[in-house]
């Protein structure tokens, strides 16, 4: 319904436009003299033609819209002619996008009907309306537009994101189908149509000789990449099948182009004048077109990879470079009339590895999204335009015999071709293609817009039967996309074709599969075979020693792929854990994608436990932070002092946004962290509030208890860092006792639930290799408190104490530093929010430590204490994953229950200096813990950002 509105809008625009020009985009541009792919001058954007033609008559048309007032000044003017071209283009894009959105509204509909079908139908309707309204077809799938703009976006996306390994593993089969299969289809269809014509099935009106039919056979035989992607991406057949059909559709472009060109030239000179040498020229031309296209693509891939090596300081140029060079590869190939699709495909394939390694994560995302967006919108437009083009009856002429025969031949020869080639291929293939695969492959031979564009490009003067061919092509395209596209899904289900699984490999699989490659190469060498693995191994050596060295940044070059893969998996896990933030605490189970087997373990119930188990994975990389202290430290010290209580630190961050050329990583990190934290916070708060309600009844009781406890706790605690508050003389406003009490009770309510569970669920044995991060932090037997990363990094915090003598070996940097920090902070905020300080309850050993968490984050509070009240260092250790080595050892020997007594024993009796702080202390850490009152929340939330 909404779409109808848009249709009307477009139509009205179309109507106004219709009056404007005599020969506009409506008329398909005259076929070029060499009907190869379009040349930019002749075709270009149809819109520009519209604009040009519209300029002259425009004023008269405007008169109706805004009547003149005797030449006086007009406040509002109707400037349609000025904006017409971009306006129409934008409207088309809008229509396409809205169509896509609407289509995806209904889940059930989407699973039943392929999008391409719906889009074609929509195009038919749109075309009908436009035709009805203006008596003339204004919009057509224009070959120039198609080949220069729409096709490259789709092919570029396909090439760039093509799974290279899979592609090359199946390269033999793909080439076979693409070259032999297409040739077979073209010749058989052409000859048989000619035969049928001689037999009189096709009407005499169709004036076509053998050459014409061969030409038609060539353009109709190629499987179309656009249609194949559109249909197969929804069907989700297994990767091997997909890559074979899809690879074929991409690579057969060269064959189609050459055949088409050869026949066109034959038709031009007349069949009688073709010499034997011309056939050889045709073969040579094929080699030149395909190999040349590939070469152009690879050259551009090299250039692109090489250029991205040096974009470190201008990250924002990266995505543009990728698009530009990939597109240039296409245009360059087109310029030399080589196979542009091949060129672009190989450019994408070749550069992907190096470019992805060189450009930043942000650029990667940008490239990905932009490519996908462009490709999907281009696809949408192509299908809509296909539908629209079909409506205009003046463009085609119907002949039932030709159409029916074409359909039958195409289908039959495709099936025969696939069967025959597969039979040959299976003699050599490691993984034979079975009957079901063959059925899907022959059924998936979809024809699409490429065939249509080629047939529209034909010169009607030379190919007399052009109109009949156009009709036949339209029907074939519609039939394959609509009928086969619609039925292929049920067919695949019915045949039980193995589907693709969207599973990400686990670390184990990554490692072992890499080992397989090596083992296979070794075995081939031992057996004295120079097989596929042997050559791949050679290639990888070459790549590593020369190519990568040249094309990759130094910083990336050294990195191992396996390492990267592991890192990715870890990040994924970490994110999924965090994503489940709320659930992690409430739900009994935490399931991780790559830890399938583990998820069933009952003790994996919350973040803490998860961390303990995966201590190595989430370690905070202290060393990494340490190594780059940054020049800003001093500046930050200053800022810190001023803003101590107000750590929404990065005023500077806004500066960064003014720079168009630099996106400072530090700023990004900070920003990410803040966002991250807020997320966590909001989640926890909502969670907390529910908990709060639930526990309302015992509130009063606990209130007293809690506050008492806190006081006591606070008294015990402080005394660690003296250097601290000396430096931070910011005054924290006092809060009323009432408020404080409330905070405490809230926290307690929540906390008890978790803490109790945690204790009971602590696993008895922990793998020794894993640093039991949390216990480490708690274990009081450790003398030197390890500071938070912030403390380590930031000098004003450095006074806290001696750094741990070593960072644990477990301080593995699987998660990149920024993520680790974010993780740490989220965890700390999480813990502090959920687990309250209830020191007197023996089963909650962690609590007291937790309660101090806020300390280091709130230097202001500590400073205000004036006495040795800062509850900091111990607390900060809490969530330091890479515990010191000694810590770890001790931690391993400790179970939570044992920790408690130690903790309490460690607490010193309140010393004289701390007495004045007695009243304030509880409040201070309370405030750090409680998030509800803004004054209290501020320091808390900001603390981590500061790190």
């Amino acid at each position: 319904m909404l779409i109808c509105t848009w249709l009307l809008l477009v139509c009205s625009v179309g109507e106004t436009a219709a009056d404007l020009y005599v020969k506009g985009a409506s008329v398909p541009p005259e076929p070029s003299r060499t009907p190869s792919r379009s040349s930019p001058e002749e075709y270009g954007n149809p819109g520009s033609a519209v604009a040009r033609s519209a300029e002259a008559p425009a004023p008269t048309a405007e008169d109706g819209a805004s009547p003149r007032h005797g030449g006086g000044y007009r406040i509002v003017q109707w400037e349609w002619s000025y904006v017409q071209t971009p306006y129409i283009i934008a409207l088309w894009l809008l229509v396409a996008s809205v169509a896509k959105i609407l289509f995806h509204f209904s889940q059930r509909f989407t699973t039943l009907v392929p999008e391409s079908c719906v889009l074609i139908l929509l195009g038919l309707v749109l075309g009908g309306i436009v035709l009805f309204a203006s008596k003339k077809q204004l919009y057509q799938l224009d070959p120039g537009l198609f080949f220069l703009f729409l096709l490259p976006t789709i092919v570029g996306d396909a090439g760039y994101f093509m799974p290279a390994r899979l592609f090359f593993d199946n390269l033999g089969a793909i080439l076979m189908y693409a070259v032999v299969g297409t040739l077979w289809n073209a010749f058989c269809t052409g000859f048989c149509l000619y035969g049928v014509k001689l037999a009189g099935v096709i009407d005499d009106r169709v004036e076509a000789g053998l050459m014409d039919f061969l030409l038609f056979g060539a353009l109709i035989s190629a499987v179309d990449p656009v249609a194949v992607i559109a249909v197969f991406e929804e069907v989700h057949v297994n990767e091997m099948l997909f890559i074979i059909v899809f690879g074929e559709s991409l690579l057969n472009d060269a064959v189609t182009v050459v055949l088409y060109k050869v026949y066109i030239s034959f038709v031009e000179v007349g069949p009688g004048n073709v010499h034997t040498a011309d056939y050889f020229k045709g073969v040579v031309s094929f080699l030149v077109v395909s190999l040349g296209g590939t070469l152009v693509g690879l050259v551009f891939a090299m250039i692109l990879a090489f250029v991205t090596r040096f974009t470190k300081r201008v990250r924002i140029m990266e995505p543009l470079l990728v698009f530009l060079l990939v597109y240039l590869a296409y245009l360059t190939a087109e310029l030399f009339s080589l196979s542009a699709i091949l060129s672009m495909t190989f450019c994408g394939l070749g550069c992907n590895k190096y470019v992805e390694a060189n450009i930043s994560q942000k650029s990667r995302t940008t490239v990905k999204y932009t490519m996908k967006t462009l490709a999907s919108i281009a696809e949408t437009i192509i299908f809509i335009f296909l539908g629209i083009s079909a409506v205009d009856k003046s463009k085609w002429a119907w002949d039932t015999g030709l159409i029916v025969c074409t359909l039958i031949f195409i289908f039959v020869f495709r099936a025969i071709g696939v069967a025959g080639q597969t039979w040959i291929l299976n003699k050599f293939r490691l993984v034979p293609l079975d009957k079901i695969d063959q059925v899907v492959m022959s059924y998936g031979g979809l024809r699409g817009a490429v065939a249509f564009a080629l047939v529209v490009l034909l010169d009607g003067g030379q190919v007399k039967a052009k109109d009949y061919f156009v009709a036949a092509t339209i029907v074939v395209v519609f039939f394959t996309v609509m009928f086969q596209g619609l039925t292929i899904k049920p067919l695949v289900t019915w045949l039980k074709v193995p589907r693709s699984t969207n599973r990400k490999p686990t670390v184990n699989e990554e490692i072992h599969e890499r080992a397989f490659d090596h083992i296979l190469a070794a075995v081939e060498d031992i057996a004295g075979l120079n097989g596929y693995h042997h050559w791949r191994d050679k290639w990888e050596h070459f790549d590593r020693n020369y190519l990568s060295k040249m094309l990759m940044r130094k910083s990336v070059y050294g990195k191992s792929e396996l390492w990267e893969a592991c890192q990715k998996i870890n990040i994924r896990d970490a994110i999924s854990v965090i994503d489940q933030g709320g659930n992690v605490l409430t739900s009994a189970r935490l399931s991780l994608p790559s830890m399938v087997s583990r998820a069933s373990f009952p003790e994996v119930t919350n973040v803490t436990n998860y961390l303990r188990e995966n201590g190595s994975g989430v370690c905070l990389d202290l060393q990494a932070i340490d190594t780059n202290p940054g020049a800003k430290v001093e500046e930050e010290t200053e800022t810190h002092r001023v803003l101590a209580g107000n750590l929404y630190k990065p005023r500077r961050r806004y500066q960064a946004h003014y720079s168009r050329h630099f996106m400072t990583v530090r700023d990004q990190e900070r920003q990410e962290r803040e966002v991250f934290q807020r997320n966590m916070r909001s989640r926890l708060e909502s969670f907390k509030s529910t908990q709060y309600k639930r526990h309302k009844k015992d509130r009063s009781q606990k209130k007293r208890k809690g506050s008492d406890a806190k006081e006591q706790d606070a008294n015990d605690k402080p005394r660690r860092n003296v250097s601290w508050h000396d430096k931070d003389p910011v005054v924290v406003p006092l809060e009323s006792e009432e408020e404080m009490g409330e905070h405490s009770e809230k926290e307690e309510d929540v906390g008890i639930v978790f803490v109790a569970r945690k204790t009971s669920e602590t696993p008895k044995e922990r793998p020794s290799s894993v640093s039991a991060a949390l216990e480490v932090c708690q274990s009081p037997s450790v003398a030197p408190p390890s500071p938070t990363c912030g403390e380590k990094n930031l000098p004003w915090k450095g006074g806290v104490g001696v750094l741990p003598p070593c960072v644990s070996v477990e301080a593995t940097k699987i998660i990149p530093v920024d993520l680790q920090q974010a993780w740490n902070q989220s965890i700390s905020s999480l813990e502090s929010l959920s687990s309250p300080p209830v020191p007197q309850e023996p089963q909650h050993p962690r609590v007291s430590a937790l309660s101090r968490l806020g300390g280091p984050l709130r230097p202001a509070a500590a400073g205000q204490g004036g006495s040795g009240t800062g509850p900091t260092p111990l607390t900060s250790r809490q969530f330091q994953f890479p515990g010191g080595k000694e810590e770890e050892e001790s931690a391993l020997s400790l179970h939570l229950q044992e920790v408690q007594p130690l903790m309490s024993s460690m607490r010193p009796p309140s010393s004289t200096t701390q007495i004045p702080g007695k009243r304030r202390n509880p409040r201070m850490y309370l405030r750090s813990l409680v998030t509800t009152p803004p004054s209290a929340r501020e320091p808390k939330s900001r603390g981590p950002t500061q790190l």
């Binding site: 050599f428 293939r429 490691l430 993984v431 699984t501 599973r503 686990t506 670390v507 184990n508 699989e509 490692i511 072992h512 599969e513 890499r514 080992a515 397989f516 090596h518 083992i519 296979l520 190469a521 070794a522 075995v523 081939e524 060498d525 031992i526 057996a527 004295g528 075979l529 097989g531 596929y532 693995h533 042997h534 191994d537 050596h541 050294g558 990195k559 191992s560 396996l562 390492w563 592991c566 870890n570 790559s594 830890m595 087997s597 583990r598 188990e613 995966n614 190595s616 994975g617 044995e765 793998p767 020794s768 290799s769 894993v770 070996v809 477990e810 301080a811 593995t812 940097k813 699987i814």
Partner: protein
Amino acid sequence: MGSTNSTLSKIPNAGDLMQETGFSPAHIVRLYDRYKALDKDKKGHLCPQDFGAIKELAMNPIKQVCQEVLDFPSFVRILAHFRPVDKNRPKDPNSPEHINSRSNKLKFIFQLYDQDKDGKISRQELLQVLRTMLEKQVTEEQLESIADRTIQEADLDRDDAISFDEFRKSMEKVNIEHKMSIRFLR
């Protein structure tokens, strides 16, 4: 190959080997030639040095595919692990599993990892493999973290090592039949 039969007759136990491994006579002959070519000093068996002499293998991080002293039958048997699984070959319920079956392939890989043959891939053993595979591309710490991560993921009984069952489980979803096969040994 006109000399197939004559050469085949020279190979001891060729028939049994073919029966056991499923190689064709041509394969056996070819492997026998290769075997003799590798055995440079004509001592009648292959020792690790012979494999070390293969120069392509020198670049390969996993060289220790064959580490023991091998005679021809064991040489063939090892290579037979990498035959593709053929569906047509009749499976005799009485006979043991084919040497190129999934579990045998897995077992073979497992033994490559499990250097001390205690039925478990320990952290040390895994590290060793990783170290050779990754060469100097990563630091020792990174290596260890990968190893830890791997073990955590696969280790179901928490003994800090990967047993064969755990190994098999972790590879459950991988198409071993395809990935551990070499076309030419078909």
